[in-house]
Every structure is written in C-alpha cells, then in structure tokens.
Symmetry: C2
Subunit: 325 residues, 2 copies
C-alpha cells in the first residue's frame, strides 16, 4: 500500500480528524479506580477505547480515512489487510459512508474478530499469514476494483485519527504527567505523539510493547527499523511491525519503549478484569503492566493509559487464564 | 437474625436510604448498546451495579443498614452471614464508619469474594454450608460481641438500600415500560418494588430466577413460601431462599417471576461480555436471559435491567465458558 500525499502530519492533523469523525465515534469515558491506584502508587486515568465502536480505538483512524476520501474515490470502495480490529473498524466506517469494503485477513486470525468484520458488511478475502501475501492480495484487489488501500497503521489519516483518543483524554485531564499506550504497528503511538505535541508537549510518552514482538524496542536501540523477528505474544493486536513513518514520528517525539513479558501483561489483565470489571483484551493490559514494572517512572504521578480494545476471543480465554494463574 | 422494628417499609424508606448513603456510594451509569437492542428487539437500559463499590448493588443495602445504626449500636459492630457480595459490602460499610465487622462464610464460598471481605478489614468466621449452621454462628457472635446482625436480604434497611439502584435508574429513565431484576433472597427485588411504587407504579416488575433455584417461582405459584429445594445453578449470587418479608412486598407489587435455565443465562452472559465489554457475573445475566426468552413481554418496549454484580471468580471461568459453548 502507498500513502496519499498529505504529509507532513502535524498536531493540526489530529484536530482536523477529531472534527471529521465527531458525528460517528463515541467519546469514550476516562475510568478511575481506587484499587489500581493503590497497587501502582500512581494516579491512573484509563481511556476506555474498548468502549469505542467496534470495541477498539481503531475505529477512529478508519473513520477518519474513509470520510477524508473524495466522493469519486469513496464510490470505488476501500481495501485493507488486518488481523482483526482495523478490518472491523474499516468495515463499519465504510458501511456508515455507504461504500464497498474489502478486507484481506490472514489464516489463523481470531474468530470473533472475523465475525465482526463480516457483521459490518465487508467482503472477507483470506490469505496466507505473511505480510507479503497480504500485500499481494491487497494490490490485486486494488487493481480489480479501484478501491483505495487504507493501511492499518501507516496511512496518515489513520495515524491522525488514532491520535484523537489522546486528544480527548488530554482535554478531559489536562495535567497528565505521563501517557502510556501500547505499541504494535505504531498507528496509535504516532497519533498520540502528535496529540501530545498539540496539548501537552512536556508530557512524556511511553510505549508498552510485548517482549515477544519487541521490534520497536530494538529499532529504537539501533536507531533504525529492525523487523527481523517472528512475533510470539498473547497480544494479538500487537504483532504487527513498526511502520517507518510511525518510527520517525515517535523518535521525533522522544518516546520511550517499555517492554513487558506476557506473564506481566496477563497479571495486569487479571487486575483490570477484577478491579475495573472491564473485559479488555490482552493488548490493552500492556500499559498497566508497563506502569507496574517501572515504579520509578510512574509512582506519585498522574498517568494516562489507553485501553486499546476489548475484543476478547472467549474460546481462547481458558488458555489465556492458565498463562496468568 | 431478627429485624429491627422499622416496618412498615414504604417507598419513602427507599428515598430515605438514598439520602443516607449518597456520600458513600457510586451513582452507577446506565449502559446502552445497539447490538443488544438488535438481538432483543427491545430498548435496553442496563443499570451497571457491577461498577458499584465492592462490585455489586449489595453495598447500597449494607451501607444503609450500617449508617442507620445509633452511635451506641454501631460501636459494638455488625455481623452477618453471606456467600460473598453482602459480606464484602458490609465489611466496607463498617470500615467507612470505623466499626468492627464479623462475617460468617460457608465452606466452599467463592475465593475471590472471601478475599474481598478480608481486604475490607472484616473478621471471617467459617462454618458449614447450611443456613442452620450460619444462623447459629451468627447468633453466637451476637452474644459474644454485642454486634448487630445485618441479614443479607430481609433486614428492612438492607431492602430499602437495595431499592436505591432502581430509584436512580427510574430518575435517569422515567418512562421505562418494564423493569427486570434478578431474584435470589429478594432484597434487590423487594427494594425495587418499593422504588417503583414511588416513581413508576404502572411499570411492571419482572424477577429473573434461575430454574435451579426456583423457590420464588414455586412460592408465587403456591401463594406461600416454598423453601423445599437444593440450589443447583451457576448463579452463585442467587442460591439464597426467598425471605418472607420480601415475598410479601413482591406479592403486593404483583411482580412476576420468569425462570431461566443456566444455559440461557450463560448465553446471555456471553452476549453481555462480548457486546458491552463489561465483566458481569453470571447472576447479572439472568435479566437479559429472561428478556430474550420472553419476547412477547418485552419486544418494542423500553426496558430497565439491573446488572447486579461483577465479582467473577476467574479460576472458575473456564468451566463456566464450557457450559456456555
């Protein structure tokens, strides 16, 4: 997929996105809980993106990309590849605009997420679970249908749209002393960096990344992208490789990667489930895991954390819980 | 346990309770979800009592009972028997008033719930899992300590306190055409009947009861209490026997019992988890199960449903999920 010529992305891009998607998205609540403040020693503000439409922040970026299309572009539809939440998000955004949506999904993707994509009226196209296979099928669909490719995390309108979650959080809680988001492909992370630039340039940005998919941490350490890894993590939303544009934005923002082991993530997930009663997905728990693993960075501070999604595959729950016992 | 002489309970008792407990409780949100409206054909308003303090509506009644005590009574503490949520609720209420709390818990109670009770500083006393054994140990503790017994669902201040959840719901949504609450011992149910009497006397009250603990349904059918049963249901919050005072209030209110099989409850629980992302406990799902099983009563109506609690035992989840598969 190639990107439209709407660089450079700026803080203003996020504010434009917020205005564009306002009629369609939920302004999600910011959750507080005494018990997790006590456990962490920090003052935690959870942005509840699992309560966003389609159950994940991904709807923001997809919605921004779809509604930014010209009428002629839109009529030919959109296409993407996605392991789940972005696919469902793009499908709903396309349904709301009344245009076709094609989603290329890898074999082995989470069943609950595929059902959600189909539910929103998109056409599913299955392929082998490699980036190359996905890109090839996307390209083929573009040629066949004239649809516009909306990459899950490098498309600039997607990045700008994802930043609107942090924009809302920073508007509701202007004096955050740290902000923590999960790091996968970097769409949410880069969008958040732009939002911070607009509203709280002094607030440090931390990126919680699974140790089993730590291309972000290695890329930051080497000063250049390092994609040489095979993801091995329970966080199915964070297995993507960090995008180049995302990496550039995050380096400029001096973001810091905090890697967390799956065991730490699952312990944090248990805490989130039992203390907040919110059924977030494992990727969402990386942020709390990162805070609990780094008390020197967060104790006594007012911390924002983005709970990225809540699309849990219930059939996989027993195995997940065994990991966290 | 015997009850203090503060009968008759009236609609005003619930309004008094609301004023008394206002400084301590959460006004819980009312949740809406497109997906479950579509599934049910009704317009569903979920009162989110799993987000109440201690994770259940039980805190309302316990709080009302504790803060209604005279200073002299309060100083001697409180005692109760409870399979879980009421025990935790009474413990927190006592902690907030700074008085001793004794909780008699049956062997085999849910581990997560016992941990919560201990967490709030109450003293646990274990006994055999029979009503007789619990009552005996409660009586013994009353004699030894002078503590006031606060029965989980027949104590009038408890009943009045539980009614405040419906009072809030009816204030936020005045035009409900039906209200559905779970039926166990009848504290929530009777309190809700009193709240309806105050704010919406024309709105019918439905009681969702597990088929495996259907003493309520049998008592209504016979016109007198029928406690001759051994509970067999996944709804651990609803295994208690209907109280006499509760039964009287519910009959006067012309409440109607709707029994639901555990399989229906677990299917409804899956829907609640995946659609609302709220980790409610099985007892909470009985209300949605009752609505889905009785479309003739609810289709096209604006329906209130009380989600009673969210204290799920994660270690029991795999077995629960297998039931619902």
């Amino acid at each position: 997929m190639t990107n439209p010529a709407c660089f450079p992305l700026t803080a203003g891009s996020v504010q434009d996105a917020a205005a564009r998607i306002a009629p369609y998205i939920h302004v999600t609540p910011v959750l507080r809980t005494r018990a997790l403040d006590a456990v962490s020693g920090a003052v935690l503000h959870f942005k509840a993106e699992h309560l966003q439409r389609v159950g994940a922040f991904k709807f923001r970026g997809a919605c921004n990309a779809v509604f930014a299309l010209s009428k002629a572009q839109a009529a030919r539809g959109v296409v993407t590849h996605s392991s789940g939440n972005h696919g469902a998000a793009l499908a709903l955004a396309a349904q709301l605009r009344g245009i076709p949506c094609h989603v290329v999904v890898p074999e082995g993707a989470v069943a609950a997420k595929l059902a959600a994509i189909a539910h929103y009226g998109a056409q599913l196209h299955r392929c082998a679970p490699t980036i190359a296979a996905r890109e090839a099928m996307c390209a083929q669909l573009q040629v066949q249908t004239g649809a516009t490719a909306i990459h899950p995390y490098t498309h600039p309108h997607v990045i700008a749209g994802q930043g609107t979650a942090a924009l809302e959080l920073l508007t509701a809680q202007p004096k955050l002393e740290a902000l923590v988001v999960p790091l996968g492909g970097g769409g949410l992370a880069a969008g958040t960096a732009l939002a911070l630039q607009a509203l709280a340039p002094q607030c440090p940005l931390y990126l919680a990344e699974p140790a089993g998919a730590a291309d972000g941490a290695r890329s930051f350490a080497r000063g250049q992208l390092d994609h040489d890894f095979i993801p091995d993590t329970v966080c199915d939303g964070l297995r993507g490789t960090l995008g180049a544009v995302n990496f550039d934005i995050l380096r400029a923002a001096q973001a810091q990667v905090l890697t967390v082991e799956d065991a730490q993530t699952m312990a944090a997930l248990r805490l989130l489930w039992t203390r907040t009663k919110q059924l977030v997905e494992p990727s969402s728990a990386t942020v709390l895991a990162a805070v609990l693993a780094n008390p020197a960075l967060f104790e006594g501070r007012k911390v924002g954390l983005v709970l990225s999604g809540g699309n849990v595959d219930l059939d996989a729950l027993p195995a997940l819980l065994a990991l966290a016992a």
